[in-house]
C-alpha cells in the first residue's frame, strides 16, 4: 500500500487535487441549487412542476460527450452564454475550470434533485406544521427540521453526486480539453493512461480512487447509520 502512492507523479497529484475540488464544488453548488429546487418541486402539484422535474433528468439521457459538445457550443465563443460573457469583457467558459464545473453541475443535477425531492415528499407536512406552531419561520424550518429529518436524502444526494462527478469524464473531456491543473481531472487522466496502455498507472490510480472512495463512503454511511440508530425516525 505505501508504495502505491509513492509512485504517483506530480501530474497525478495535481489531477487528484483538481478532482476533489471539482467534486466538492459540484456537490456544494448542487446542494445549494438542488435543495430549493427540490423543495419547490415537492410543494405543488402543477403540470409545470412535473415538466421541470422531467427536464431536470434529461441531461442524463444524452451520451456525455454529446452533451459535452452541446455545452461546448453553448459556452464557447459563438454560443449564447460564451458570447454574452465575451461581450462583458470576460472569457468564454470552454476549456476552463468554470466550464467543466457548469458541465458537471448540469450533468449531475438529477442525482441531487431526485433523492431530495423524494425525501421531502416523504417527510410529510406534519413536522413543518409543528415547527410553525412553535414559532419557526420558513428558513428556520429548513435548518431545524427539513435538513436533519431529510439527512438520509441529503446523504444519498451528496454521495451520488460526488461519486458521479468523480467518475464522469465524457462531458469534462469535451468541454475541458484535459488541461493539466485546470481541467485534467483524475477520470480523464486514468482514461488517458488506459488508452495509452499505461496499465500500471491506470490500475494504480483506479485502485487508489476506489480505496479512498470506499473509505469516504464507509465513514459517511457509517455515521449516518449511527445517527439513525440514536434517533430513529
Amino acid at each position: 500500500m505505501p508504495e502505491l502512492f509513492l509512485t504517483l507523479s506530480p501530474q497525478d497529484w495535481q489531477a487528484i487535487r483538481l478532482t476533489l475540488k471539482l467534486c466538492l464544488y459540484t456537490t456544494l453548488i448542487l446542494l445549494l441549487l438542488g435543495t430549493p429546487l427540490a423543495w419547490w418541486l415537492s410543494l405543488s402539484q402543477s403540470k409545470l412542476r412535473t415538466a421541470i422535474q422531467a427536464i431536470v433528468a434529461l441531461p442524463l439521457v444524452l451520451p456525455p460527450t454529446v452533451l459535452g459538445f452541446y455545452l461546448l457550443l453553448l459556452l464557447g465563443p459563438h454560443g449564447a452564454v460564451g458570447s454574452t460573457l465575451q461581450q462583458l469583457g470576460l472569457n468564454h467558459l470552454a476549456f476552463s475550470f468554470s466550464g467543466i464545473l457548469i458541465g458537471s453541475v448540469i450533468y449531475s443535477l438529477p442525482f441531487t434533485v431526485q433523492p431530495l425531492l423524494e425525501s421531502f415528499r416523504r417527510m410529510g407536512p406534519r413536522p413543518l406544521e409543528v415547527a410553525a406552531t412553535l414559532g419557526a419561520g420558513k428558513l428556520d424550518q429548513l435548518f431545524s427540521v427539513v435538513l436533519p429529518l431529510c439527512r438520509g436524502g441529503f446523504i444519498v444526494a451528496a454521495t451520488l453526486t460526488f461519486a458521479h462527478t468523480m467518475g464522469e469524464f465524457g462531458v469534462i473531456l469535451m468541454l475541458g480539453g484535459s488541461i493539466p491543473g485546470e481541467t485534467q481531472v483524475l477520470s480523464v487522466l486514468i482514461y488517458d493512461h488506459a488508452e495509452a496502455m499505461n496499465y500500471a498507472q491506470a490500475h494504480q490510480l483506479s485502485l487508489g480512487l476506489l480505496i479512498s472512495a470506499f473509505v469516504v463512503l464507509f465513514i459517511v454511511y457509517g455515521l449516518h447509520r449511527r445517527f439513525e440508530r440514536e434517533a430513529p425516525l
Binding site: T65, F69, L72, L73, L75, G76, P77, H78, G79, G82, N91, H92, A94, F95, L173, M174, L175, G176, G177, S178, I179, T183, Y191, D192, H193, E195, A196, M197, N198
Partner: protein, 246 residues
C-alpha cells in the same frame, strides 16, 4: 468456418475514406456484407486482445498493429497502405500560408491537438511542434482531444482557436464549410517534422478464415482505392506508389 460477413475495426481518421472504399468494394462484391466500427487505435487493439469479433484492423499507427501481431492476435504482418498528414486549421481564419513556427506570433488562447499520450495524431502534432521549437511557447495554450475527430470538434465549436488535425478531416466538407465567414484554408505541416503516421492493417485471429477479409485486403491495393485514399489526403507509401505505377 468461413464467413462472408466482414467486420472491420478502423481508426477514426479513416472514417470518410474507408466509407468510400467500402462502398466501392460493395459495387464489386454485392454479396459481401461489410461493416465498420471506428474508434481510437488503442481502444480497438485492446478490444481485439480481449476477444472482439473484428476481422480486420486498420490502425492509425502501425505500432498497434505490430504489437498485435507480435502477441499473436493478428495473423498477417501489418500491411502499410497509406501515410497520414497533419494540418494547421482554424475556425476563425484561413491558415493557409501560416507556418507552424509562426504560431508564437499569432494571438490566440487555445490550440487543440489530440492527446499525445494515446492518439497517434496527437503525438505527431507534438513532435512537429517540438521540431520547430514552439512547443514550450504553446504548451500552456494546449487543449487535448480524446481523438482527432474530437480535436476537430473542439476547434469547430470555436472553443479552441486553432487545431492541429488530420488532413483527411480538414478536407471533409463539414469542417471546410463549418463557418460562413471564411473559407477555411489549412496549412499542411511538412512530413519531415514528425514520424510518419503509418496507416496499416492486419487480419486478426478472428478473421483468419474470413474470405471476405482476404478479398478486402487484396482490394486495398486497387488503384481506385489508392485514389480515394489520396483524395482524402493520405499519402501513399513507397510500396503502394510502386504498385500504382505498375
Amino acid at each position: 468456418y468461413a464467413s462472408d460477413k466482414l467486420t472491420i475495426a478502423a481508426a477514426s481518421d479513416l472514417r470518410y475514406a474507408l466509407d468510400d472504399v467500402i462502398a466501392l468494394f460493395h459495387q464489386q462484391q454485392p454479396a459481401a456484407e461489410v461493416r465498420v466500427i471506428y474508434g481510437s487505435s488503442g481502444k480497438l487493439s485492446t478490444q481485439i486482445r480481449h476477444g472482439a469479433p473484428y476481422d480486420l484492423f486498420f490502425s492509425a499507427d502501425i505500432q498497434f498493429a505490430e504489437q498485435l501481431y507480435a502477441e499473436g492476435h493478428a495473423l498477417s504482418q501489418p500491411q502499410l497502405y497509406a501515410l497520414g498528414r497533419i494540418v494547421l486549421w482554424s475556425p476563425r481564419q484561413n491558415m493557409a500560408g501560416i507556418e507552424l513556427a509562426q504560431l508564437t506570433e499569432l494571438n490566440f488562447r487555445r490550440l487543440a491537438i489530440a492527446q499525445p499520450a494515446h492518439a497517434p495524431y496527437g503525438l505527431r502534432a507534438k513532435e512537429a511542434l517540438q521540431a520547430v521549437g514552439v512547443w514550450p511557447a504553446v504548451e500552456a495554450k494546449l487543449v487535448y482531444g480524446e481523438n482527432i475527430a474530437q480535436t476537430a470538434q473542439m476547434a469547430q465549436s470555436g472553443g479552441a482557436d486553432i487545431a492541429i488535425i488530420a488532413l483527411a478531416l480538414a478536407k471533409f466538407p463539414e469542417l471546410a464549410n463549418s463557418s460562413k465567414r471564411a473559407s477555411h484554408g489549412y496549412q499542411l505541416i511538412p512530413a519531415e517534422l514528425h514520424q510518419p503516421l503509418s496507416q496499416a492493417y492486419v487480419i486478426t485471429r478472428h478473421g483468419a478464415n474470413n474470405n471476405t477479409a482476404q478479398q478486402f485486403t487484396a482490394f486495398m491495393t486497387d488503384k481506385d482505392v489508392l485514389a480515394i485514399m489520396q483524395a482524402y489526403g493520405f499519402e501513399l507509401p513507397v510500396s503502394a506508389r510502386q504498385g500504382e505505377q505498375e
